[in-house]
């Protein structure tokens, strides 16, 4: 009797010890700040902590750096071997830069994951054949326009006549208004001119469009749809740099014509995402190119009453190769220095399942969901369908834009191209500077 009690007690102790050894530790996630994704991600973490995390006895918490200098801070931290966070942000355009500080997660990317997250978005988290992140947000660009204004432009004979007159006078060719989803870049420019008060005093808006021309790498991503739609790329198949090309020159001219004719606000050279939203949201411009993340804001009548209910979305205007949009994904991967690899993997495996991804989408995140799931949440987020469609049909990633030098190249482009648009330097000089920098970067 006594022996059996001892045996039972021993077994209980052993079982407790075993269960303690399989229990996971808490993890910390370094994620990208900013609404609506931030609040949505917190809800996902709450779900994890109350379900899978509770089961594993592993709690996940999130930390944020400020957006300004986020990547620099993260780079300094991982290079210093920080273990302050176990799961970290990844992005298509710098996956090559961070790859040496991350653990590949190909073992987590099973066939089941492809049923939740689109396969091509997982491809954007790869560097040299290895996967470094589970994509959580898809970023691409839409043409945001005021439906009421563009419809009137296409139906009002007086507006049509004025449009033709302006296009002939400034662009040297008589263009007729078209619906936004049929625009090419000439239509984009002509419409920008038409809706500019200094050119057309009857324009209901002060400027036609708002260009984001702050010396910032993200603004080059937004611009380079003009290049890709005309067949441009950073490099050709043989690795030759192809920036000095008609496609790049055309892309540069599109912004230059709009800037020189003051069809964008005069302080656009200090504008980025936020400023452009406030100008469009206040009804001061008729249309703009913008990141997809802004859609929920413009559908919110309490925030932008002028635009809510009148927002039209389309693909970017077409070039010789049709419409194109830069796209990238943000995701979460594993810090190489983490001492909690199993816990981090457990979290990412859970994250790449249907329930958390659907919750994230419903709460305002923009996960690149697989087709089936996308249809399920389309009722709550109709623009998500458009995102999936645009990424598949028009999405491009420039050749070399995931390399370790991509951020530096984007920044150099921003310096030189914003300089050209604002008249600091000539186009040839700007292109030559960028080519020289790219040659140096890719040679290293």
């Amino acid at each position: 009797m006594l022996k059996s009690r001892f045996l039972t007690a021993g077994a209980a102790i052993l079982a407790t010890a075993l269960s303690a050894s399989t229990a996971l530790a808490d993890i910390t996630i370094l994620a990208w700040p900013g609404e609506p994704a931030e609040s949505a991600f917190r809800k996902v973490l709450d779900l994890y902590n109350s379900t899978e995390g509770a089961k594993n006895n592993s709690k996940a918490s999130v930390i944020y750096f400020s957006q300004q200098g986020f990547k620099e801070k993260m780079l300094a931290d991982v290079a210093a071997g920080s273990k302050e966070f176990d799961v970290m942000l990844t992005a298509t355009y710098d996956v090559g830069l961070y790859a040496p500080f991350m653990t590949p997660i190909d073992d987590l990317v099973t066939e089941d994951v492809y049923k939740v997250v689109s396969k091509n978005s997982i491809e954007t988290q790869k560097y040299e054949g290895k996967t470094y992140g589970i994509p959580t947000d898809l970023s691409l660009h839409f043409l945001y326009y005021r439906k009421d204004l563009i419809e009137q432009l296409n139906t009002d004979p007086a507006w049509k006549a004025k449009y033709e007159e302006i296009s002939e006078k400034i662009l040297g060719k008589k263009l007729s208004p078209k619906p936004a989803d049929q625009w090419d870049w000439d239509d984009f420019i002509a419409s920008a001119l038409f809706f500019t008060k200094s050119i057309n005093p009857d324009s209901p808006t002060r400027y036609g469009t708002v260009l984001q021309m702050k010396n910032l790498l993200y603004n080059i991503m937004l611009w380079q749809g003009t290049v890709a739609s005309n067949g441009g790329n950073w490099r050709d198949k043989d690795g030759n740099i192809t920036v000095d090309s008609p496609a790049f020159k055309r892309g540069l001219e599109i912004y230059k014509i709009i800037t020189d004719n003051e069809a964008t606000p005069g302080d656009s050279s200090t504008y980025e995402y936020g400023e452009a939203n406030s100008v469009f949201g206040a009804g001061q411009v008729a249309f703009m190119l913008q990141w997809n993340a802004a859609v929920p804001e413009f559908n919110d009548a309490t925030k932008y009453p002028t635009v809510a209910g009148k927002l039209g979305l389309s693909h970017e205007p077409a070039g010789s190769e049709g419409p194109k949009t830069h796209f990238h994904s943000l995701g979460l991967g594993i810090n190489k220095n983490t001492a909690k690899l199993d816990e981090a993997k457990a979290f990412l495996s859970w994250l790449a399942t249907a329930e958390p991804m659907k919750l994230y989408a419903k709460e305002g995140g923009s996960p690149p969901l697989a087709e089936g799931l996308m249809a399920e949440i389309a009722g709550d987020r109709p623009e998500m369908l458009l995102m999936g469609e645009h990424a598949a049909k028009y999405g491009f990633v420039m050749d070399g834009a995931t390399s370790a030098k991509a951020m530096g190249i984007y920044t150099n482009m921003a310096e030189n191209f914003t300089g050209y648009w604002t008249g600091e330097i000539e186009q040839d000089e700007a292109i030559a500077n960028v080519v020289a920098d790219m040659k140096k970067a890719f040679a290293q």
């Binding site: 010396n215 920044t411 310096e415």
Partner: protein
């Protein structure tokens, strides 16, 4: 005990007392300087924090890059313009406000307010205040019939200078006010009795008495404006083009964005050498004058 041996003993104890300070300085300045020297001669990167020796390649890359000279020119020009305006304005304000502040010293605290705001926050504030659509200043000016685009290409340089001046003139004012208050009333009264009032009193009594403070404030403001970063980075990112890229922004971009750590450190060391040369020349001039 002979005088000579006493002196030797005193010297020895003085040296011993200097040891902790030297160790402290060595740890705080010596180690970073040495490691930075190594970085400037290596191909160090975030992926390879040790790097290998590349000779003077980074220095060659630094001095042959026209962007460095452009940034240096911007910083020098910016520092000269800002320092001149700040110190000039502060001096005028001191002479105008001194009688008032003697009676109401608490008002000095109000004048100091801009200095207490973080420069980065200052950049964010002006980004909002000067925005063509949402900014209070352009909106009111437009109501008065003046359409000014403060953040447009034509005005951006003047705007970043104005922000720097608005923020740091109070600092120059504070130092100069303190210097003005140290000039004894008796001296001013004696000068007045001798017939030196107004212009003569200011230029022959007050300004010479305030000269040491004036030199210090010029020096401090020049250094501070030369290494400007925060509000320009927030407001313009150094653009459009490289129009407002200061040398600090240039080094930051080389280091964190271009990932060319060696070249960034080489530029910093070149700047350090230039600054040291300037300081040595300035100190010699000051010593010779005194």
């Amino acid at each position: 005990m002979s005088y000579a041996s006493f002196e030797t003993k005193e010297q020895a104890s003085a040296r011993a007392l200097l040891v902790p300070l030297c160790l402290f300085m060595g740890a705080l300045l010596g180690f970073p300087t040495l490691i930075n020297l190594w970085y400037s001669f290596s191909d160090v990167s975030f992926q390879n924090m040790i790097g290998s020796f590349v000779g003077i390649d980074n220095y060659v890359a630094a001095v042959t890059n026209p962007k460095m000279w452009q940034a240096l020119r911007f910083s020098l020009q910016f520092a000269v313009i800002c320092t001149t305006i700040e110190v000039g304005a502060a001096l005028i304000l001191v002479f105008i406000l001194h009688p008032l502040l003697v009676k109401r010293p608490w008002m000095t605290a109000i004048l100091m307010l801009p200095m207490m705001v973080s420069p980065a926050l200052m950049g964010v504030m002006y980004r909002l205040i000067l925005n063509e659509f949402t900014g209070a200043v352009p909106v009111y000016l437009e109501m008065m019939g003046y359409a000014v685009n403060f953040l447009g290409r034509g005005n951006i340089y003047k705007t970043v200078v104005a922000i720097e001046v608005l923020q740091w003139t109070p600092f120059a004012f504070l130092i100069l006010l303190t210097a003005r208050q140290t000039v004894s009333y008796e001296l001013e009264e004696a000068a007045a009795v001798d017939g030196a009032t107004g212009f003569r009193s200011t230029f022959h009594i007050l300004l010479p008495m305030m000269k040491p403070a004036l030199v210090i404030v010029l020096f401090v403001r020049f250094i501070d404006s030369f290494r400007v970063f925060d509000h320009i980075y927030v407001l313009t990112g150094g653009g459009p083009g490289n129009l407002t890229t200061s040398i600090s922004i240039y080094i930051y971009k080389l280091f964190f964005v271009q990932n060319t750590l060696g070249e960034a450190v080489a530029v910093s060391i070149l700047l350090l050498l230039m600054s040291l040369t300037l300081i040595v020349v300035a100190m010699r001039l000051v010593v010779r004058r005194s």
